[in-house]
């Protein structure tokens, strides 16, 4: 369950709870900022970001750290398992398909 901020308002949100973390997701369709439970899975972040940014259901999207784009984050792992700090910057990516 995410608590969405407006893009550009920054990672700090006064009513964000201690058990939440603010995630900033960039993409080719703009930015998505929201607070998630630390126990939320990467897949939850992908789903929320994809929906907000208008990607089609079923698009093969992955999250990477902006600072380490070579390794997609495991969708089954939780945010806290990555020890992310509040305001972590992620990138929503796709590689398409070989056809």
């Amino acid at each position: 369950m995410s608590q969405e901020n407006k893009p550009g308002t920054g990672p700090e949100k006064p009513d964000k709870k201690d058990d939440e973390i603010t995630v900033i997701v960039s993409s080719q369709r703009g930015e998505f900022v929201a607070a998630f439970k630390k126990t939320a899975k990467i897949a939850d972040v992908i789903t929320a970001a994809a929906k907000k940014l208008g990607f089609a259901q079923g698009d093969r999207l992955e999250l990477v750290l902006e600072s380490d784009r070579g390794t997609p984050l495991d969708p089954h792992r939780t945010l806290e398992s990555y020890h992310f700090k509040d305001g972590v910057r992620l990138l929503l990516t796709a590689i398409g398909s070989g056809v």
């Binding site: 960039s26 080719q28 089609a56 990477v64 070579g70 990516t93 398909s97 070989g98």
Partner: protein
Amino acid sequence: MAVDRQLSRDLVSMEVEAATALASIYHWVVCLDLEALILRVRMTAHNGDRYVVELGLDDYRELPPAIEFIDPATGDVGGTRWFPKGHDSFFNSTGPTICAPVNRNAYKRPNQRYGIHEDWTIGDWANSNVQNFPWADHATISGILSLIQNRLDRPQCYHGKQAS
């Protein structure tokens, strides 16, 4: 039917402007020749290999961009020494070319230097779902460049240049 060049210029200008933030994240060096409708973007792969991607954007968006990798020194196209090698057929050794519906050069057409697919309809490029992938989500300049960069970023997707 050809697209009015000014209309294409307006669309390209808007899309390139919208890609500014993404270009900063990916460290792209962007060079747009709006008059000629040619966009060149320098990208770096995970291992430090450098590429220059050229999008030919005449008749955009009626037709998809014509995507080439070019020799950074001479501007030549079609060389395997400046074309990536990947884990699947996206970076295709035929041509070589990017084999995706978002690339004009992937379609087999009259007077085409190469072109792989006779079975695709070029007019559907922006709504293609071939291989059950929603290409429509990525049928913009920033979307196309991101697909290429994301592959160059990942060791499992990018295996160096086609020829050294």
